[in-house]
């Protein structure tokens, strides 16, 4: 199992992501954004969190033109699995690999805390180790995490089971920290091989550090 992790100027979660996947037994490789290829034996490509290109213009907007992104699109088009976390989610929406867009948080503040999430759909590689309705506790750390999609787009997400996670309280009741449409924290594409979420499962790997709920989430990719 080989996990390739993208690194843009301003990415800052690549080593956390590497640590998380290596803890789970995967082999990893960090791929610099100037590379025009991703390693051939890649089983999962992760677009890690951070502030690519200083979030200039819009979060993720400049990164989508990095040389490596053509390879990412080609990999995804061939059915390769791609996971975007936080800024990686923003990059994937900007690149058109995932529907919707991430706006400034409704309260205009940067939010950094643990937050509960409820599994909306588990008929996909990412969340297959969890059950629909399970509540996990995972850190969020973002300024532009306010997911937007128009009504027609939202209906399509619902019909195709593309909504992965919703922000809730510990009991699984909707609790929306940032104004996201339908309290959405993560989505996947129609083909269910490209995944994006604002919360950081790679930061929830050890109960000593607050939660190990990220293990069950990321493990989905390892055992497929």
């Amino acid at each position: 199992m080989k996990v390739a992790i993208l690194q843009f100027p301003g990415t800052n979660c690549e080593y956390d992501t590497q640590h998380a996947f290596e803890t789970l037994g995967a082999e990893t490789e960090i791929v610099w954004h100037k590379s025009e290829h991703i390693p051939e034996d890649t089983n999962l490509l992760v677009v890690a969190g951070g502030f690519s290109y200083g979030d200039y213009l819009r979060s993720g907007a400049i990164a989508k033109f990095s040389p490596v992104m053509k390879a990412v699109s080609a990999y995804a088009d061939k059915g390769g699995k791609v996971l975007g976390i936080c800024n990686g989610f923003q990059v994937l929406t900007e690149a058109g690999l995932l529907p919707g867009a991430l706006k400034r948080n409704e309260g205009l503040h940067f939010i950094s805390k643990h937050h509960h999430l409820k599994v909306a759909n588990n008929d996909n590689t990412f969340l297959e180790k969890l059950s629909k309705g399970d509540v996990v506790n995972v850190p969020i750390a973002h300024h532009d995490g306010n997911y937007f999609i128009d009504d027609a787009g939202l209906q399509e997400l619902e019909e195709n089971n593309q909504i992965l996670l919703r922000y809730t309280d510990a009991k699984g009741e909707i609790l929306n920290p940032n104004g996201s449409v339908d309290s959405i924290a993560g989505v996947c594409n129609k083909e269910k091989n490209v995944f994006g979420l604002m919360p950081h499962p790679e930061r929830a790997m050890e109960s000593l550090l607050g939660s190990d709920d990220g293990v069950a989430m990321l493990q989905g990719f390892l055992e497929s």
């Binding site: 213009l57 819009r58 907007a61 033109f65 900007e94 919707g100 948080n105 409704e106 205009l108």
Partner: protein, 79 residues
Amino acid sequence: MTAIVNISLKQGVLDSQGKAVHHALDSLKFTNVTDVRVGKQIVLQLDTEDKTQAMADVTKMCEEILANTVIEDYKIELH
């Protein structure tokens, strides 16, 4: 030629910054403001005098990178 691109959130997309500014104006007793939208302006210097070409070029720039048309509208002025 100068191109001025004004980018703002689409009508129907909640503009939290606009709302916060509106609230602040209200606190300062500017009570006749009915709506506030906050956007951004990008000024481009173009090496052409051909307005049709310039409009086509800048429109392409807006569609590809300057605006995210999922949530934003843009207006282009040429001078």
